[in-house]
Symmetry: C2
Subunit: 332 residues, 2 copies
DNA sequence: ACCTGGCACTTAAAAAAAAGAAGTGCTAAT
DNA sequence: ATTAGCACTTCTTTTTTTTAAGTGCCAGGT
């Protein structure tokens, strides 16, 4: 590939991203300073390399997935972000009252707004989170709310009615014992410790200990299962993309976006900003997913942008990079 | 309208609901025991009354909005619900561990599943809820989580970082004072009472009282604003309806469903089960919304089903009725 | 006064045909 | 290596034709 051919590939990608229609040789004559015949030859060559394709035998060219890949790896230039956007992101990220994950959420909201793509944030299954405190709040004679707070400040609550055979007082007492002994325990290990450490203690102090314990077991069980932590922003933004112009495609992508299990597969641990184009991602062959993990203190997860393959790669990468860099600086 | 004409209207509605295509006179000859010409005459008559329409000058008939209305008010027969469904609903409704609104949510999930329509539950802005308890849970040296629990068991949480000029201890102390004095206060009145009742008390005991108070003010302010309480189930179910067969319509309804402000307008106080067909509802002229309010103890809100005008009215009404009746029995 | 068979007429939807536009590949010349 | 030129493809759009479904209404029967 000579310079002109690289230029050509870059221009075809960028034109197609902008105009959403196959790029013909004539339209590039001025930009490449050569005749349409030459461009046709180069296009044919790029096609043999697998970087361009035709939609039919006499159409203009569109980038193949390999074409996009080459573009993102060698040709694209990072795009400047506007001062306005930087300001917005900065304000959010520097707000100390926000949990990190909430800040990420808000940033991704901004990004999905300015790009018109869909953003998703996946909180990591918090197996690493530690129990901070359990509280029992009596609501009325028979009902209580159990609150669990983790060391990173996540809160979950569960309602339960207390069988009349147990006094709420006993539940509260047990709760205190749990706090004294289990605060700092990994959430994932709480269940086992309840059984082997707490139960014996409580057994000596409370009559109905079996019932009380099973209440706590059930409560914790709910918490650890609950974790669904999928946050979209601009969920249907991607529909604004012109490729979503027929019912089948629209319904297809929507049903995938509604499928939590599938969305969760987007999760990644990789620190880098990774681009999965079309077939490269497991989510949907027609989209590109740009994703990266975030981690600050105890909070970690994945942030991702879902857009058409014909995506403004430079813009999205730059934006995600900005957030990542900010968080990394923070970490120090 | 004679009996045959009423039968005809009912059959046209039901056939159209089932087959989604204009109903012609010939297809009804057997069911009405008369010639197609007679049916044509009756159809023309029902058209003059405004109950039927044609899609074009020589098409079969479809019900007009007035036709559906007449049908729902005079012609439709409530549909039996299957024992299986009754069982599911009953199990949910009788589960004492669920807050009422959660039970409603789960029921509506079931309904949207079996009908293939979209359900939405709107929790009422809980101006009537009472403060049960505020808790401050320290996360680390500078961060705390504030938890607010209401008398109906709703929990909200807010993170905040404490300026280093205040000791967390002082915050916790203030929190106790708030609990002692404000437990049982209407959530909507908390802000004012903080200012006029709590502030003077705290002022005598804590040095940095201004800062502490503004922290609590801010926290409560967030809670009362937050309340967004829109819960969908089967959000995109309505897309399975054959009327959603072109991009414009699909995108139109989706963007309306994503518009929280618009969805909130569905809210109602009316105890009855109300049917809003097409133009009758403010949400979308192409859908029917069947809605009713629920109320049990302190929990109240709206539950609604959004489907095509060509909806299985009998089924939906019967299902909603079942839930309402169950809750009313409960109330006693 | 009401019902019905028959038939001309209307419209939409589907299929087929024609016209137009955009772009390529290849050849031969520079 | 480039390029002008032209024949050839394929899609898109428009137009025409065909088919199917159903109505309205008349005239005759009960």
């Amino acid at each position: 590939m000579n310079t002109r051919q690289k230029d050509l590939l870059r221009i075809v990608v960028e034109e197609y991203v902008k105009n959403v229609k196959p790029v013909g040789s004539k339209s590039l004559v001025k930009r490449l300073n050569c005749s349409s015949a030459t461009i046709r030859n180069d296009m044919a060559f790029l096609e043999t390399l697998g970087y361009l394709e035709k939609t039919h035998s006499s159409s203009g060219r569109i980038p193949s997935e390999e074409g996009y890949r080459y573009y993102t790896e060698h040709l694209m230039k990072p795009k400047e972000i506007s001062g306005d956007t930087v300001l917005k992101l900065q304000t959010i990220l520097s707000n100390k009252d926000l949990v990190v994950s909430d800040a990420i959420l808000k940033c991704m909201e901004i990004i999905s707004e300015i790009t018109n793509y869909t953003s998703v944030v996946l909180g990591k299954d918090s197996g690493n989170e530690l129990l901070k405190q359990v509280s029992i709040i009596p609501i009325d004679d028979s009902k209580v709310v159990a609150l669990v707070v983790t060391n990173s400040g996540h809160v979950e609550n569960k309602h339960a009615s207390i069988p009349s055979t147990i006094s709420i007082n006993e539940v509260v007492k047990s709760c205190e014992i749990i706090n004294k002994n289990l605060s700092g325990t990994k959430l994932s290990e709480v269940s086992a410790k309840l059984e082997y450490e707490i139960k014996p203690i409580i057994a000596t102090k409370i009559k109905q200990y079996e019932t009380v314990m099973s209440f706590f077991q059930e409560a914790f069980n709910d918490f650890t299962v609950k974790q669904s932590d999928v946050f979209f922003s601009g969920k249907t933004n991607i529909l604004k993309q012109p490729e979503y112009n027929e019912p089948k495609k629209i319904k297809g992508i929507i049903s995938k976006l509604e499928n939590v299990e599938l969305v969760k597969k987007i999760e990644t641990d990789d620190e880098g900003i990774n681009i999965f184009i079309g077939e490269e991602n497991e989510f949907d062959e027609d989209v590109t997913i740009i994703k990266t993990s975030y981690k600050l203190g105890n909070e970690e997860g994945t942030m991702a942008i879902i857009g058409p393959k014909r995506m403004e790669y430079g813009k999205v990468v730059t934006l995600l990079n900005y957030i990542k860099n900010y968080l990394e600086r923070e970490e120090e």
